[in-house]
């Protein structure tokens, strides 16, 4: 083997072994990826097996009861819908306004830098800390306004919790609107607000909606902060107004799951199925919105 070009064409020593290691490593990595998927599948199947049989009509029309066969999720489901409605009413306008401010008004100023850092930090604060904040501020200090341990207090707390997510999603949607649109609007004599109101927001709206729905789908499963607010677990009525006491699905699930009897745990599984169906339909709606209004600039 004196000709160097000929030597290059032969397999270098050890390459077969190195390739074999590579192949093994690929399989290991694939395996680790699949673990999460398998876990998810087992979890969903287990919950379906435990709970599907309990999804009867009475389950949706009854209140929690000492007797598993007569127990239902009506107050919890109503509380969850109330909470979601109020959170949407509070957090959506606030979040969009903050996003508009950060992108269109305070863009690249020190104010934006401060708020941006602050939002990033807030997004990492454990949800139970928001519960402590809500307990002190909304339940106690603002008692006259909120009625104490009410669905309004809960909604205000959860709104603060999801606000960073909505703001960040809103900013991304606004940033995706090309600046040529803004410049055209300014060029025609529009003011800053007119540009935002008539051009930036309409174009960014699908993105903002998608982000908001995803934020709400996170809020729907929040448990710990609402336990802190005292969203009572034994509530046999549906809230009539924002100042009424309430309970929500995750708290009902927690309550049933922490009892030792199998029947109650199965009820918890049935309530989990309802919660996951709500959550997945919100996600599906968000994805549908995103695909329907996707724009190529």
């Amino acid at each position: 083997m004196s000709d160097p070009s000929e030597r290059l064409l032969t397999t270098p020593p050890g390459l077969v072994r190195r390739r074999r290691w590579g192949r093994a490593f690929e399989l290991v990595c694939l395996g680790t990826t699949v673990v999460g998927v398998v876990f998810l599948a087992i979890m969903l199947v287990d919950i379906l097996i435990d709970g599907a049989g309990w999804l009867t009509a009475t389950f949706f029309t009854e209140s929690p009861s000492r007797f598993p066969s007569r127990a239902g999720i009506k107050p919890a489901l109503a509380g969850t819908l109330w909470l979601m409605g109020l959170v949407a009413l509070i957090a959506f306008p606030l979040g969009v306004a903050a996003a508009v401010y950060l992108e269109e008004y305070a863009s690249r100023s020190w104010v934006q830098a401060v708020i941006q850092t602050n939002i990033a930090n807030l997004a990492g604060v454990p949800s139970i800390v928001y519960g402590i904040l809500g307990l002190a501020v909304f339940v106690r200090w603002m008692f006259v306004l909120t009625g104490g341990r009410s669905v309004l207090s809960g909604a205000l707390t959860i709104s603060l919790l999801v606000l960073p997510v909505i703001i960040i999603a809103g900013q991304e949607a606004i940033r995706a609107v090309p600046s040529s649109i803004r410049e055209a609007s300014y060029g025609l004599g529009a003011t800053r607000w007119q540009t935002v109101r008539h051009h930036v927001l309409p174009n960014a709206l699908p993105g903002i909606m998608t982000g908001t729905i995803l934020a709400l789908s996170r809020a729907i499963g929040e448990t710990a902060p609402l336990i802190m607010m005292g969203a009572l677990t034994f509530i046999a009525f549906v809230p009539d107004g924002p100042r009424d006491a309430f309970t929500v699905l995750p708290i009902q699930i927690f309550n049933w799951a922490s009892r030792p009897q199998d029947e109650f745990r199965n009820l918890a599984a049935a309530a989990i199925i309802v919660l996951l169906v709500l959550l997945l339909s919100m996600n599906a709606l968000a994805i549908w919105l995103r695909n329907k209004y996707r724009k190529e600039w």
Binding site: E26, M43, I47, I115, L122, P126
Partner: protein, 343 residues
């Protein structure tokens, strides 16, 4: 934005559309002849005079700034509330006793407020969770970024993200009713409540965070580095482990830190599966109480406002807040490092 619209002359001249100059009031001119712009919807709103319009612009800007300030107020609120009530607590319990005490018995006599059992409980859960999530998450990130064909990736990644979106109370239920019974078959003498089961489900919960942040970091590694390594005759394994992983290291480390911070703040799965026994142990077969679980335990009871038990949740909350905040700041500092290098 390069154009500052506020410095522009605001209104049209006297020949413009009707307006009420004296009052600055709205005059409805929905069909505005001054702006017949093709493709642009006619301005539907009422027109204002120059001064009125500038005022309206300012008011709107101020209102939007107020919304932006809500996030600042939230942070201020959290800090003020935590510190305020903690000061009351630390009037009864010296800070040093709180931080170094090894017994936590606030709900029965004699009351002792040493937070170490709670802190160690949180750390133990986070440790078990990391042992699960770090290797699995890193492996998944390497597979998704270096090996997986596009169509496999498009299926696997959303499924992993579903894991992150499932409410934590659901993980708690699954830990209690499935994982723990399975573990009890394998480990004799394991209690109904144990740190192992809780740690495992928390690990699965934070896995997508590690996988997706690490994969982002690996995707940001310039293709030239990989191509250079391939050109030198490296196999895929060598490129992945000796080129891509080191190059993405700060992003990977950031994902670990942020995930551990998430695990420490995790509440419902831990409350349901790990129990309510504050004890100083690093044995994952034991039942432990975390900082978050203690806060939940107190709020489930009828603790009167202003009592020392009530104040203690703020002191524990303050510690939890500071621990997670420091980790998040470190994590984001690492993230920005790789973004600066490859952006």
């Amino acid at each position: 934005m390069t154009i500052d619209p506020t410095s522009r002359p605001v209104d049209v001249g006297p020949g413009g559309p009707a307006r009420d100059a004296a009052e600055g009031r709205d005059v409805a001119t929905t069909a505005d002849p001054a702006r017949p712009v093709a493709g642009d919807p006619p301005q539907p709103g009422p027109r204002l005079t120059g001064a009125g319009r500038a005022l309206k612009e300012r008011a709107i800007g101020a209102a939007l700034a107020l919304a932006g300030a809500v996030s600042i107020l939230t942070t201020v609120g959290i800090v003020v509330v935590l510190v305020w009530e903690s000061v009351g607590f630390f009037r009864h319990v010296p800070v040093l006793d709180f931080l170094t005490g090894t017994e936590w018995t606030p709900l029965f006599q004699p009351q002792r407020f040493g937070v170490l059992p709670l802190l160690v409980g949180s750390v133990l859960i986070a440790l078990v969770a990391s042992l699960i999530a770090v290797p699995l998450g890193l492996g998944a990130a390497i597979y998704l970024s270096e090996y997986s064909p596009r169509n496999v990736r498009d299926v696997l990644k959303p499924i992993l993200e579903i894991l992150a979106g499932i409410p934590t109370v659901v993980y708690g239920y699954f830990a209690l009713t499935f994982v723990t019974p399975v573990l009890r078959h394998m480990i004799p003498g394991l209690g109904i409540f144990n740190a192992l089961s809780a740690g495992i489900v928390v690990g699965i919960m934070i896995l997508p965070l590690i996988a997706s942040l690490s994969e982002d970091a690996m995707a940001a590694v310039p293709r030239e580095l990989r191509q250079g390594a391939y050109a030198l005759g490296s196999t895929k394994l060598e490129v992945a482990t000796r080129v891509v992983t080191p190059a993405a290291l700060s992003g990977i480390v950031a994902s670990f830190i942020l995930a551990v911070s998430r695990a420490i703040g995790e509440t419902m799965a831990v409350v349901l599966a790990a129990g309510m026994t504050p004890q100083l142990t690093f044995d994952p077969r034991e039942s432990v109480q975390t900082m978050t679980a203690y806060i939940v335990q107190v709020s489930l009871g009828d603790t009167p406002f202003g009592s020392i038990e009530y104040q203690s949740i703020f002191a524990v909350g303050l510690l939890l807040f500071m621990v997670t905040l420091v980790m998040n700041i470190f994590g984001r500092w690492f993230l920005n490092r790789y973004r600066e290098v490859y952006a």
